[in-house]
Structures are given as structure tokens and as C-alpha cells.
């Protein structure tokens, strides 16, 4: 056998073999060259391309600074042309060299195979009589081979497990529903005049002494970038405000401890808004509506009808326009939230126009969850979300109807005819009664139960002692306090509406009264906070001056009061240790 293999090839096959081998070499060399060209082309695209683009960007930036530089301009255009030309050339080149590479590789393989066939030698089987031992050994090796494979797989798995931790987000803040419960809201100040919108807080550690001029008792003071007549809203360590001018609308978030402006969220104009002329009264401004939060997101609405949602980090989640409101003094109703929905009282135009609505918007998307049509004209009061006998209602006030809606579905539960004219004070719910004010005329207390028109059946009392045009009432459950713009404070019995006392404060008021712990807080336009003891007679506790005009109702939090001045946001309170 050995001898046969050593026999020289026949001359003919030897020549063919040589030729095949040489051709294979040449084809292989060509293949390598084309491969090199392709790689070079690839490197050219991957390396030089971005480099040139960077150069281009730099040159463009230079040109911005000096637009008159003719030479730079010419250079830019030259470079652009070169980039574009090169790109087309490279594409073409890549295509051609790929074909050439393919061709040369095919040739190389063909002649290589031919050479392989020509030099192939016949089979030379060995002379092993019994292969059993060999085969058994082979199976054994193969078994160990498989075992080694298992080991490799297991190691790879362990490595993967060790390098990558578990999916963290699965267990991330298992916070239940994507909104705060009413119980949680009751410990915050999540809307205009706090939970329930009644201006009531059970906190007893709220400061009673400060002075804006000297800075005594003021924790911090931060300038608010844009004007607005709306009140601060507080959730945990964040204080929210909104502000707007004719051109701009923004939401601000301040750090509750330091007063640092954490973020400002822009609400751009929708196309229609940009063109429309929106008229507002100076007293109202472009941002009279107070923001509201559901504990996860902050919502803000502006006089243009633009409403937007931001997360607590300032990312705008959605933004829409509810249509430009036809409001005589400018849209001013504040927002409230129910679960993860934003409640918008959108009263506008005449009652006959049929344009007034109560919306519940999905807080996550801004989509309308439900809307209720309202046969009322424009109004400036804010809706309140209150729990009455285990059922959550939304109570709204406008001319002439005080209406209670089911918060979940928006279906109307009851209505009472209690007001007329331009209604601005919001209703409050206290002591089982809803108090509603008709400006300059009367205050009505309605038992918010029953169905349909309950004007005849559920009105507990009416009083015409004092009916302010702007300020909302406040109540501690025993007395109702009403304050008018000229500083006349009226205290009445909640049970029957009879007058308890009247007191002249000799100040002007825009902000509504607040009942905090056992004290009454009244903030005047001049920035003076009148603090009085609750009870059957007016008993002054303190008078604190801020030294800045104030139009918005203050917000109360643990040991602190947040007051929006005309230009600044103040945090009153020494802070906790």
C-alpha cells in the first residue's frame, strides 16, 4: 500500500494539479485583496465618516458665530460635497468589491477542490481485526465529553446568574394603585384649600408668629418666575405652583425644606391658543386656577384652557386644550383629583350655549373618562370631592345649580337651586351640610343627599347676613366663618345659620379663611395674617405681617404655612429639628 502512494503522479495529472494549485493561489490572493479593500472601505465609512461629520458640525457652529466668513462657508460647502460624493462612491465600491470577492472566492474554491480531487489518494484502511476496545473507549470518551459539556453549560449559567442580578423593577415600590387614597390626601394639601377644599387642617403645630420684613419665623423665600393668583399645593417634600403670562404657562416645583426651585414644567401653546386672543381680568390673570395632585402627578390648568400633567420629576406626561374658555373674567376654577382622575369644572359662555362641562380626565393619559353636561353659564368656583355617607361625591356650584355628582361615573345625584349671578366662592362641606354662597345675596346650607331636585326638601337653612363675592366660607363643624372682601367677618351657627358674631377687620381680602387646629387664619391683600381663636367670639391671637401683597389662599403643612405673595413663595415655620 505504502508503495502505491509513493508512486509519482502521471505527468498529465501533475500538470493539471500544478495549474490548479497556482490558480488557487492567485484566486486566493485576489480574494484577500478584495477582502482588504472591503475592510478598508468599511473602516473608511465607520471611522472617517463620523469624523467628517463632527468636523462639519464644528464648522457649522463656527459659521453661526460669524455668518460673514465667506471662506468658512465655501469650506463647508466643499466638505459637504466631498462627504456626499464619497458616500455614493463608497456604496458603489462596496457593491463592486463584494462581487469581485465573491467571484475570486468561488474561483479559489473551485480550483482548490479540483486540486483536492487530483491529489486525493485512495482509501487505506488499517488492519484492526477487532475494534471493540476502540469503540468502547470512544463511547466512554464521548460520555465524558457530554459530561464536560454539561459542566460548561452549568458554569455558563452560574456565571450569567452571578453577573446579572434579578429584575429589580418587579418588586419596585409596590405602591398599589397609581394614585393616593383619600385617606393619604387628608394628610396632605393636595388642592386649592386642602383636602375637601374647605380650608381646614387638623394640625395644631402651625406657626402663629412671623415677620416678613425681618425674616423672623420665615424658613425660606423663593421668587416665583411667573405671576399667578393660584395657591400652593403641597405633597410630601414638594410644593407646587403654576404661573402664566399671555405667552407662557409653567408649573413650578419647589423643595419644601429649602425652597429651591426643583423644576419648572412648560405647557406650550396649542395651535389654536397661539392665534386666539384671550382676555382675562387683571384680578384673575392667566393662571388663577390652583393645581391639584393625586399623589403621583401634578395637574395644572390655565386661562387658555390648556391642561397638562407632570410627574413629580417634572416630565410632562400629557398636555391638551379643552377649547378656549368663554369666561367673562377669565377661567379661574381650580382642579381636584379623584383616584387617578383630574376633575375639571369647565363652565363657560351662557347656559343656553350648552358649553359647560364637568370633566374627569384620566391622569395617566389625559383622555376623558367621563364628562357631564351642565346647563349653567360661566362660573369661577371650584369643584370639591367629598365623601358623604360612604359615597364620594363631586359638588359643584354655578348659577343657579348646586349639583352633586357621583365621583366614579359622573352621573348626577342631586341638584339644588341656590345661587345666581357670577358665582366665584366655592362650596364647602362641613357638619353634614354643603354651604354655598350667592355673591352679595345669601348663603344656603344643603343636606347633600337625596335624588333629583332637592331644593324644596333638603335645604337646611338660608342666611343673608353676609355673602362675599370671592372668598369661600370655612367651617370647623360648629361655626361657619364667612369673610367678605372689605374685611367683615361673620360667624354663624352651622346648625341653623344664626349669627354668632360679626367682626370688622379693616383690611381687604382676596384669600379665603382657613381653619387650622383651633385657630382661624385670615390672610389680607396687604399680606397680614389675622389669627384668631375659634369660638363664639372673636379673640385675636396674633397679626403677622409678610410685607408683600397676597391674593392666594395659603397652604398648611406639618409645622409650616406656605404663602404665595405677589412675587415670592414663602415658607413660614421654624422647621422641625
Amino acid at each position: 500500500m505504502n508503495e502505491t502512494t509513493k508512486q509519482p503522479d502521471t505527468p498529465r495529472s501533475s500538470v493539471a494539479l500544478q495549474t490548479a494549485r497556482n490558480t488557487a493561489k492567485v484566486a486566493g490572493a485576489f480574494a484577500l485583496i478584495f477582502l482588504g479593500l472591503l475592510v478598508a472601505n468599511f473602516i473608511g465609512t465607520a471611522v472617517i465618516g463620523p469624523r467628517r461629520e463632527n468636523k462639519m458640525a464644528a464648522m457649522r457652529a463656527l459659521l453661526r458665530e460669524d455668518p460673514t466668513d465667506e471662506k468658512l462657508l465655501a469650506d463647508i460647502r466643499q466638505l459637504d460635497l466631498r462627504i456626499r460624493r464619497d458616500r455614493l462612491w463608497r456604496l458603489d465600491f462596496a457593491r463592486k468589491s463584494s462581487y469581485a470577492l465573491l467571484g475570486s472566492v468561488a474561483l479559489f474554491l473551485a480550483v482548490g477542490k479540483l486540486a483536492g480531487v487530483l491529489e486525493r489518494q485512495g482509501p487505506r484502511p488499517g488492519h484492526v481485526a477487532d475494534r471493540s476496545a476502540e469503540q468502547i473507549a470512544e463511547s466512554r470518551h464521548a460520555r465524558w465529553g457530554v459530561a464536560a459539556g454539561v459542566l460548561v453549560l452549568a458554569t455558563a449559567g452560574a456565571l450569567l446568574l452571578g453577573l446579572q442580578g434579578p429584575l429589580a423593577f418587579v418588586k419596585a415600590e409596590d405602591s398599589g394603585p397609581p394614585y393616593a387614597t383619600m385617606e393619604q390626601k387628608n394628610h396632605q394639601w393636595h388642592r386649592f384649600r386642602g383636602p375637601g377644599g374647605g380650608g381646614v387642617s387638623s394640625l395644631t403645630n402651625v406657626p402663629t408668629a412671623w415677620n416678613g420684613e425681618s425674616g423672623a419665623g420665615i424658613l425660606w423665600k423663593t421668587a416665583v418666575p411667573l405671576p399667578g393668583k393660584n395657591s400652593p399645593v403641597v405633597w410630601g417634600k414638594r410644593v407646587f405652583l403654576s404661573g402664566a403670562t399671555e405667552e407662557k404657562r409653567e408649573v413650578f416645583c419647589f423643595d419644601a425644606d429649602s425652597g429651591q426651585l426643583l423644576w419648572r414644567g412648560d405647557v406650550p401653546a396649542r395651535a389654536a391658543v397661539a392665534e386666539a386672543e384671550i382676555e382675562v381680568m387683571e384680578e384673575t390673570g392667566y393662571s388663577a386656577s390652583t393645581t391639584a395632585t393625586d399623589g403621583r402627578r401634578i395637574y395644572a390648568i390655565f386661562a387658555t384652557g390648556d391642561i397638562a400633567a407632570f410627574d413629580f420629576n417634572g416630565r410632562r406626561l400629557w398636555h391638551k386644550n379643552l377649547g378656549i374658555p368663554e369666561s367673562m373674567y377669565g377661567y379661574a376654577s381650580s382642579l381636584d383629583t379623584y383616584q387617578d382622575r383630574v376633575i375639571v369644572q369647565y363652565d363657560q359662555a351662557d347656559a343656553e350655549a350648552g358649553k359647560s362641562r364637568l370633566y374627569a380626565l384620566n391622569g395617566l393619559s389625559g383622555d376623558v373618562v367621563w364628562e357631564a353636561k351642565r346647563e349653567v353659564p360661566n362660573s369661577w368656583s371650584s369643584p370639591i370631592v367629598v365623601e358623604v355617607e360612604g359615597r364620594v361625591q363631586i359638588v359643584t356650584l354655578a348659577d343657579p345649580w348646586l349639583i352633586g355628582y357621583d365621583a366614579a361615573t359622573g352621573t348626577e345625584l342631586w341638584r339644588a337651586e341656590v345661587a345666581s349671578g357670577d358665582v366665584a366662592p366655592s362650596p364647602i362641606y362641613a357638619g353634614g351640610l354643603v354651604m354655598a354662597i350667592e355673591p352679595y345675596s345669601r348663603m344656603t346650607a344643603v343636606k347633600p343627599t337625596g335624588q333629583g331636585n332637592i331644593t324644596e326638601t333638603h335645604v337646611a337653612w338660608q342666611s343673608s347676613d353676609l355673602a362675599p363675592d370671592i372668598c369661600c366660607p370655612a367651617s370647623d363643624g360648629r361655626y361657619v366663618y364667612v369673610l367678605d372682601g372689605g374685611g367683615l367677618l361673620l360667624c354663624s351657627n352651622i346648625a341653623d345659620g344664626t349669627k354668632v358674631y360679626e367682626h370688622e377687620l379693616r383690611d381687604n381680602f382676596m384669600a379665603s379663611p382657613s381653619v387650622v387646629g383651633d385657630k382661624l387664619y385670615l390672610l389680607s391683600e396687604e399680606g397680614v395674617m389675622h389669627i384668631a381663636q375659634l369660638g363664639p367670639e372673636y379673640q385675636e391671637v396674633a397679626k403677622c405681617e409678610l410685607g408683600e401683597a397676597c391674593f392666594a389662599s395659603p397652604a398648611f403643612a406639618d409645622g409650616r404655612i406656605y404663602i404665595r405673595g405677589e412675587k415670592n413663595l414663602y415658607c413660614v415655620g421654624g422647621g422641625r429639628p
Partner: protein, 434 residues
């Protein structure tokens, strides 16, 4: 000019804030006073279905022809010619996609994704080779698959891969199949397509990493016959099992084996099995104990594999883009990483709450826990089965092409003197060559 500047500044501010609310009518489309007509948007249509059906027809034709050439005509040259044809037709002309190997994933996706239904042609590409294999063995691999063809074409100087290495490397293919089906079924990715090493050559371009991988495989393929087919191909391992059951199959000899051993080294893919005797007496007892031990090990391997796969569920789930996104967003929100990625930015422009994303991703993660366990169990099953197969000895009296490993390439025919006899060339032809 001043106004133009002002608009620009405002817009630049907007741009900086990156408020990409899509498709709003900021500027109402104009009414033209001139008789200008708006151009319509061109929509060049994809290739007609008819060509897909033609491709499926060609596939079936090629399969049947391959069976005929391998089993009836027994001509290596004809098989090689058909293989080159397939390489050109399914590879370079059809650009290698959708291929039979990848179609496994389409089937998996069809089974688990209610929104997806496999197109008929892809189904044919998946099923036809299986059916043909059930009848004629792996003729698909030998002459029709373009991936096999490109490797077969470059095989110049085959070296023998030791049996133990072949056995352990082949596990890769099973793992690859399991992973491919798992990730396709749960909608993560078609990894078999993503890491298809040769499709870049068919398209004359593509991702450079994959092209380099393919080039490496082809370089190995110069010396090791069909490395992808033997050690990686996920479809190949299905065909292996089907081929074991085939009605007809490739035989080295056209009639009787005379045990001349001439064909012993004929197969570059190590698929020729020499005759075997039963266990020799002294080995028999040990072999029986070993078999019993492996039989006991088998369920443990399956359970262990399932457990391992379950443990790895989170790593598997990370193959899913939604899970990766959720993880990224969570890292960003918990402040563990700084900056955002394109993906997290894109997520935020949708305005969806991250909790929703987490829940969705966690849902996918739970599916991967089940899928991972099944995948692990499958791998354990394969390993156990392989060990058992290696522990038994079947009596074989002739030189045979291994049913599972034989690609039906036809190389061995001409090594058999009986074949030459059949071709009426006589014994001389073999001698003359030598």
C-alpha cells in the same frame, strides 16, 4: 428678520426641551391659489406573493430531486450540482431569507402569539424538509439547504473530529434550538436569524460582526466539514431525530456490505459507523450497572435542567426589549444610573406611567420563568438521552451511514467497490485511482 429670529429662538427652546408630540397640525395645510397639485406618496409594493410560491415549489422540487439523486441515482456529482443550484437559488437569489432553519421560530411564534400567523410559504419551508426527511433521510441538508451548501462548497481538506468532541459540541445545537424557540415564542427576538452566520454572504453585506463570525465558520469549514450543520444548526437536530425514523435512507453500498473497510474514512462528517459487536463479557456487567445509573440520573438531569432554567429566568427575560426597557427605566427612576437612553426617552414621550411598564415587563418575566424551566428541562432531557444512547451498544454488522448524522451528500458511494460493480466499472476503477 427680527421676528424670524424671535420665532427661531422660541423654537430652539422647544427643541431643547425635546417635546416631540407627534403629528400635530401646527400649520394647517394651505389652500393653493395656483393650480398646484400635491404629489402623492409613492408606495412601492413588496415582491409579489407569487414568487414566494415559486420558491416553495422549487424547494419541494429540489427536495424530491435530491432524494432521487441520493437514493436512486447515487451520484455525488449530480448531488453537488443540485447543491450549487440551491446555493445560488435559495442563497444568492432569494437572499437566504426566509430559510428553513429560521422558520422554526416562525412556527414557535405562531403557536404563542395570537396576532401572528405563519405565512403558508414559510410553513412549507418548515414542513417540507421534515416530511421528506421522514421518507428519505436528510437529503435536505445535503443538497437543498443553502447554509449547508456554502459550507460544503468550501470544504477542501477535511480532518476528523474526535467522537467525544463531536458529541459534546452537538449539545450546542440543542441548546441553540431550545433558546431559539423560547425567545421566538415569547416574542423576544429571532436569535437564529440574528446570528445567522451566512446570510450576510448571500446578501453581499450586513452586520460586520456577523460577517466576521460567518467568515470564521467558513475558514474552519475548510478543514472541518460543515461545522454549523454539525454543531450549531437548530433545525439539523430536529432532522437528526426524524432521519432516524426515515423509510428509506442512504446506504454506502448499493447492495451487500463486504466489509472491505474502503469507505471507513470516506465521510468528512464522521457519519460512517463501523460494525460493532455486543459488549465483551468483562465489560457487560459494568455496562449494565452504568446503564442503570444513567437511567436513574435521567429524571434528575431533566429536573435539574428545569430548575437551572427557572433560576435563569431573569437573564432570559432580558432578551425581551420590553423587559430591558423596564429595567432601564427603573434604574433611571431609582437614580442608579444617570442619563437616559433612546429607548427610555421614547418610552417617556408616550406618557405611559412606568408602573404600567413594570407590570407588563413583570408579566413577560413570569412567562420566561415557565419558558425557562421548560427550556432547561429540554436541555436536561437531551443530555440524559445522549448519555443513555452512549451507554448502550447496538449490534451492527455492516459499515453503515449513521442515520442521524448522514447528510446524504453522496461522497461515500464511490468508495464502495460494490458501487463500482453496480456502475459496471469493475474493480479496476478504484485501483486505477490509487
Amino acid at each position: 428678520m427680527a421676528r424670524w429670529r424671535y420665532i427661531l429662538i422660541t423654537l430652539v427652546c422647544l427643541f431643547a426641551l425635546n417635546v416631540a408630540s407627534l403629528a400635530q397640525e401646527r400649520f394647517p395645510p394651505p389652500e393653493f391659489e395656483t393650480d398646484y397639485v400635491r404629489p402623492t406618496t409613492t408606495m412601492p409594493q413588496p415582491e409579489q406573493d407569487i414568487w414566494e410560491y415559486v420558491a416553495a415549489g422549487v424547494l419541494i422540487g429540489a427536495l424530491l430531486l435530491a432524494a432521487h439523486l441520493a437514493l436512486k441515482r447515487r451520484s455525488r456529482k449530480a448531488i453537488f450540482a443540485l447543491m450549487l443550484f440551491s446555493l445560488v437559488a435559495f442563497g444568492f437569489i432569494r437572499k437566504g431569507c426566509v430559510c428553513t432553519v429560521g422558520s422554526v421560530q416562525n412556527v414557535a411564534l405562531t403557536a404563542f402569539d395570537p396576532a401572528y400567523a405563519i405565512p403558508i410559504v414559510v410553513l412549507i419551508f418548515f414542513a417540507a424538509p421534515l416530511v421528506v426527511t421522514l421518507f428519505f433521510g436528510r437529503v435536505f441538508c445535503g443538497a437543498v439547504c443553502p447554509l449547508g451548501a456554502i459550507q460544503d462548497a468550501v470544504l477542501i481538506h477535511p480532518v476528523r473530529v474526535p467522537n467525544w468532541l463531536e458529541s459534546s459540541l452537538r449539545l450546542l445545537a440543542y441548546v441553540y434550538l431550545g433558546a431559539g424557540v423560547l425567545f421566538a415564542a415569547l416574542g423576544a427576538a429571532f436569535i437564529i436569524c440574528q446570528y445567522d452566520p451566512f446570510v450576510g454572504f448571500f446578501r453581499l453585506g450586513g452586520n460586520w460582526n456577523i460577517l466576521v463570525l460567518g467568515a470564521c465558520l467558513l475558514l474552519i469549514g475548510l478543514f472541518v466539514g460543515r461545522p454549523y450543520c454539525r454543531f450549531l444548526c437548530p433545525y439539523g437536530v430536529i432532522l437528526r431525530q426524524f432521519s432516524r425514523l426515515s423509510k428509506w435512507r442512504v446506504t454506502i453500498t448499493p447492495n451487500d456490505c463486504i466489509k472491505c473497510r474502503l469507505c471507513e474514512d470516506a465521510c468528512p462528517f464522521g457519519a460512517i459507523r463501523a460494525p460493532t459487536e455486543p459488549w465483551p463479557g468483562k465489560e457487560y456487567k459494568i455496562a449494565k450497572v452504568r446503564l442503570a445509573f444513567l437511567l436513574l440520573l435521567f429524571p434528575m438531569l431533566v429536573a435539574g435542567g428545569a430548575w437551572g432554567g427557572y433560576l435563569l429566568r431573569d437573564s432570559f427575560a432580558r432578551m425581551h426589549p420590553q423587559v430591558r426597557l423596564a429595567e432601564r427605566v427603573h434604574l433611571e427612576e431609582s437614580g442608579e444610573v444617570e442619563g437616559t437612553t433612546d429607548a427610555s426617552d421614547a418610552f417617556r414621550t408616550t406618557g405611559r406611567p412606568s408602573r404600567e411598564l413594570y407590570d407588563e415587563a413583570a408579566q413577560i418575566g413570569r412567562r420566561f420563568a415557565i419558558g425557562g424551566a421548560i427550556f432547561g428541562g429540554f436541555v436536561g432531557f437531551i443530555i440524559g438521552g445522549k448519555l443513555l444512547a452512549l451507554a448502550v451498544r447496538r449490534r451492527r454488522s455492516d459499515y453503515e451511514a449513521d442515520r442521524a448524522s448522514c447528510f446524504a451528500c453522496g461522497r461515500c458511494y464511490e468508495y464502495c467497490p460494490k458501487e463500482h460493480e453496480r456502475l459496471k466499472l469493475g474493480e479496476k476503477a478504484v485501483v486505477a485511482r490509487t
